[in-house]
Symmetry: C4
């Protein structure tokens, strides 16, 4: 570590450990294979600092010591020889737009398939499931969740902009899909973000398998 | 703990540990994702007291120390800062109607799909499988199990009443489904309730995949 | 233990431990849910004695201490308060007819589905897969394995007889299915029997999912 | 060990441990069932020496001590009582043709199914997925990966020759399938090879399940 304010330093170690535990669990479920996906948590709000999984690392073996500390420009404050993901900009955008305390991004088989299957509709409507009640602020299974689908891109600045506009147009959305890429969700803290990912992954698998059974 | 009678106190610790172990195992199988589902066991019959998983807690990390003790009105006897699930009333209803020693409730992908697919038939008939013999009192695979499907609702008092009527009309049922919500099963004790859940989840997945293959 | 010959006594402890490890691993894969299935290994040939999983026990928590020692009539030589499965007779029949050193019986979703789907053909032909080479004596993927399907029954004496006749008519079979019930396989020892189960379960899942994709 | 040069001896122990860890993880995912599949890593380039998983061993219990050291003719330099797989020649061919540092070979349900379904097209085209960026040298999801399919054979000398020709015709391929047999991939080192296997397995499952959903 080079210059972590004392406020965030004390928060960093347990946060990094919790983030690594979630990464290993999601990898075991096949949601972060091949070093895909990334995870972040806010460690300090002012100045904004995130604990973030490094790029190109096996999430099934992620340790707290490998977790990076980055600032609000996505620059590293810790010195690991590792580097942050190009998608750091997307995490920062979501943190700012949603006042999120944590952002998680998974690549599951089912989120990949459904992000493609419903791409022309620009999103997926999920309605009538009890599991929706696990999403922050939802009180009944009669809730209708619109999960927007955004075109994939390698231009992170442009993609962050598109995401920001999408979030603005969908103020109640708890996540979004990048087409043939993966799922982003977030929460007030890491536990809530994990809960949201588990719920959205569950619902996407349920919708996908329902198509198989009903067709 | 505030006021646990000595009788139940001695039973509570091992019961809470067993309940937490089952919760973590079911979470690993994807049956309790996103803090969904809940688990209870009778600790004392007179007065009626249940060990119960708290609301809103990650079942993949549930510890014995987090397990609540509740009375027959669903009020907490232990003081954790946690709170019991709204579905506590349903657990109490089943304990009373079936003289159950444990009640388990799972949200799996397959139970969600089949609870919806067969909703208009008000239940699922499962017949001819050897696995049925694992249900208490069943001696042959020629048994026919009727798994009732009940409309989902957020009104727990009304839902408890509907469940009670359904159990009364189906005295031999070992479980029931709430539509697009999940599976309830129970047993004389926690081990038997776990066995019943595993069997019903297995049979629902078998029926669901059979539809995929045969269609 | 009451009267184990010294020959088998020394072999019993490591065998029981190995058998319990396999049981827990198969339960994790969903092949022994709800206390279903059973596992046995020959501990002594003369007199014939088997280490065998007890009836009605959660295979996900099976310990070496729970494993029973039984004689060639299926009577218990150890005194646990547990009892052997009714299917002990089937294990003994296979041990005698095939000179098997171990017999394993699983209840998987895929073996249940395919045992039903192909029941009118009285078996499943599996041909052209490299995985077949893992079956004892098979040298090439061009091998054709015939996996017989036998009607399920609760009459164990009659079922043992049918199995014996089926094995006699299919001297090269490495396993068989009981309709809507499960898979039996065996091997010269526990390791080989485990290998055979893994291979047959893999091939049955491959055939089942191929039906889903090709339909 | 009999005659390991000191250079490779120091590299062998950690490499063997890493290889065994990957084997156990892939076995847990069902990619190496029934002793199928094999794994190798280059320990020394001059002379060429590989750490290699032994033939016929349960990959779910593979230990570092069981890993073999072999030379460039596929002969064992270590003395274990175990023997190298017949497919050692294929590993050596890939190491030479691709300057690979590690070669991994898996038998998954999905790679088996797709290797058969697309066999008449001699390969599978995978395009437009973000996951492709995890393959070495790929910078965008717009990449098109051609995964060649080669006829299965038990003649390893001939098969090694066919693989070499296929690699020569497809200089950018990151893996290939043997029909109804399995997937080969490789990398500069063991970590990269593991990443490539995870990505290709993910993409094959995604393609397979997309067929189920879209049909």
């Amino acid at each position: 570590m080079t210059s972590i304010p004392s406020q965030s330093e004390s928060a960093f170690a347990p946060t990094a450990a919790a983030l690594a535990t979630i990464a290993r669990g999601f990898h075991a479920r096949g949601w972060l294979l091949g070093t895909s996906g990334n995870l972040s948590t806010v460690v300090s709000r002012d100045p904004l600092q995130l604990a973030m999984s490094p790029s190109g690392v096996d999430k099934g073996e992620l340790t707290a010591a490998q977790v990076l500390l980055i600032d609000e420009q996505g620059q590293m404050l810790s010195d690991h020889g590792a580097k942050p993901s190009d998608e750091t900009l997307l995490h920062l955008q979501i943190v700012k737009d949603r006042q999120a305390g944590a952002v998680l991004h998974t690549h599951s088989v089912w989120n990949t398939i459904l992000s493609d299957l419903y791409a022309t509709q620009r999103g997926i409507s999920i309605e009538g499931y009890e599991m929706l009640k696990g999403l922050d602020g939802v009180r009944t299974h009669e809730h209708r969740e619109w999960l927007p689908i955004i075109d994939n891109s390698q231009d992170m600045t442009s993609l962050a902009q598109t995401i920001s506009e999408t979030l603005s147009r969908n103020p109640n959305a708890h996540g979004f899909l990048l087409q043939r890429h993966g799922l982003y969700s977030w929460g007030l803290d890491l536990q809530q973000a994990k809960r949201h990912i588990e719920i959205l992954e569950f619902l996407l698998e349920t919708l996908g398998r329902t198509l198989e059974v009903k067709r």
